[in-house]
Symmetry: C2
C-alpha cells in the first residue's frame, strides 16, 4: 500500500483539534492525540514539531475554516445582525474555535500567526469605519472597539457556559433556548451598532 502522508497528517490534526479544544494545551497529552488518530505518537513530532507548534497550527487552521465558512464580511453592514447571528450559530455548532482562542489568551504565550491575524482584524476595523462613515452603522463607538465587542457578543455564550446555564436555567443543547439566545445576540448587535431608529421591526 502506498503511503498516505497527507491523510495521516490530516487525521493527526483533526485529533489534535478535538483534544486541544476539549482539554487545552496543558490538559492535552500528545499520546492521547496519537491514540485518537490511530497513529503513532512520534509522527506528531515529525510533522508538527513540539506541542506548542501543534497547538498553533491547529488554531490557525480553525481560524481559516471560520473565515472560509462565513465568507468575507458583507460589503454593506445593513444586515449586521444576521451576519452576527450566523457567526453565533457557527460558534455554538463548533465551539472548538472559541475554546482554542480562550486557551491561547489564557496561556499568554506567543500568539499563533500574529501577523496575518492582525492584518485581518485591521481590515475588519477599516470596513467598520467605512460603514460608519456611510451612515450604515452608528459612529457612537470607535470601529475597533465595536468590532471587538461584536465578536464578544457572539462568542461569550460559548466562553462561559456555566454562567449561561446558571443565568438562563437552560441546558446547552436546548434547541428553543438556542433560538432565544440567537435572537438576543442579533438584537443586541443591532442596538449596539445600528443608528437609532433602524431595525425597528419588532
Amino acid at each position: 500500500m502506498a503511503w498516505d502522508t497527507e491523510g495521516t497528517r490530516r487525521r493527526l490534526k483533526e485529533a489534535a483539534t478535538v483534544e486541544f479544544a476539549e482539554h487545552g494545551p496543558d490538559g492535552t497529552t500528545m499520546a492521547r492525540i496519537a491514540e485518537r488518530a490511530g497513529i503513532n505518537k512520534e509522527r506528531l513530532y515529525k510533522y508538527f514539531g513540539d506541542k506548542q507548534a501543534l497547538f498553533e497550527t491547529v488554531l490557525t487552521d480553525e481560524l481559516k475554516k471560520l473565515a472560509e465558512t462565513l465568507g468575507p464580511p458583507p460589503g454593506d453592514f445593513e444586515n449586521i445582525g444576521e451576519f452576527v447571528g450566523r457567526n453565533f450559530d457557527y460558534h455554538v455548532a463548533h465551539p472548538h474555535l472559541v475554546r482554542l482562542l480562550l486557551w491561547e489568551g489564557l496561556a499568554g504565550g506567543p500568539v499563533a500567526d500574529e501577523a496575518q491575524r492582525s492584518a485581518f482584524y485591521q481590515d475588519k476595523t477599516r470596513a467598520y469605519a467605512a460603514a460608519q462613515r456611510a451612515g450604515i452603522l452608528d459612529d457612537d463607538l470607535d470601529p475597533d472597539h465595536l468590532a471587538f465587542m461584536v465578536i464578544g457578543l457572539s462568542a461569550w455564550w460559548v466562553s462561559t457556559p456555566q454562567l449561561a446555564r446558571m443565568l438562563t436555567g437552560a441546558d446547552d443543547d436546548d434547541a428553543t433556548e438556542h433560538a432565544r439566545r440567537r435572537a438576543s445576540v442579533v438584537r443586541a448587535v443591532q442596538r449596539l451598532a445600528r443608528p437609532p431608529g433602524a431595525d425597528r421591526a419588532r
Copy 2:
C-alpha cells in the same frame, strides 16, 4: 513563636489564587503553590483537600471579593453604565477572577458553589426584570440574557487580551487605552440596556 494557622492558610490561598489564575488548574502544580507561599506542600492537602477542592475554594473566594467590593447592584438601574464601568475597572485591575471563571467553564467539571451562585444570578435577573417593568431599562432583551451580556461586555476585554491587542493595537497596560475601553463599555451597555432616548449626554 506561636502558630499562625490562619496566616498560613491565607498565604496558601493567596499563592493558589495567583498560580491558578495564571496557569489554570492543569498548568498549576501544588508544589509551586507551596513554594510561592513559602509553606510546605503537605499543608495544602491538610487545609484544602485536593487540587480540585482548592481551586473551587479559590474561585468562590474571589467571587465573594467581587461582590463585596462592588456592593449590591444599585437599587435603580438609572446609572447602569457607571456601575458596569466600575465592574470593568475591577476586572482590569484584578484579572484573576475572570480568568478563573474562564478556566472553570473550559474545564467543564463541577461548578464551584453552584447553588449559591445560581441563587445570586437569579436575584440579579429579578432585579433587571423589575427595572424593565419600571421603565428604567428597555425590555427589548429578556432580563437573564441582558444580565449575561452585560457581564460579557465588561469581562470580554480580559478574556481575549490577544484579540484586544490585535484589534486596538494597544498594550494592555496603556492607561489612555484603558480609559477609551472603559468609555466604550459604558456606552455599549447604555445602548444595550437603556430605553432609546435616555443617556443622550454625548
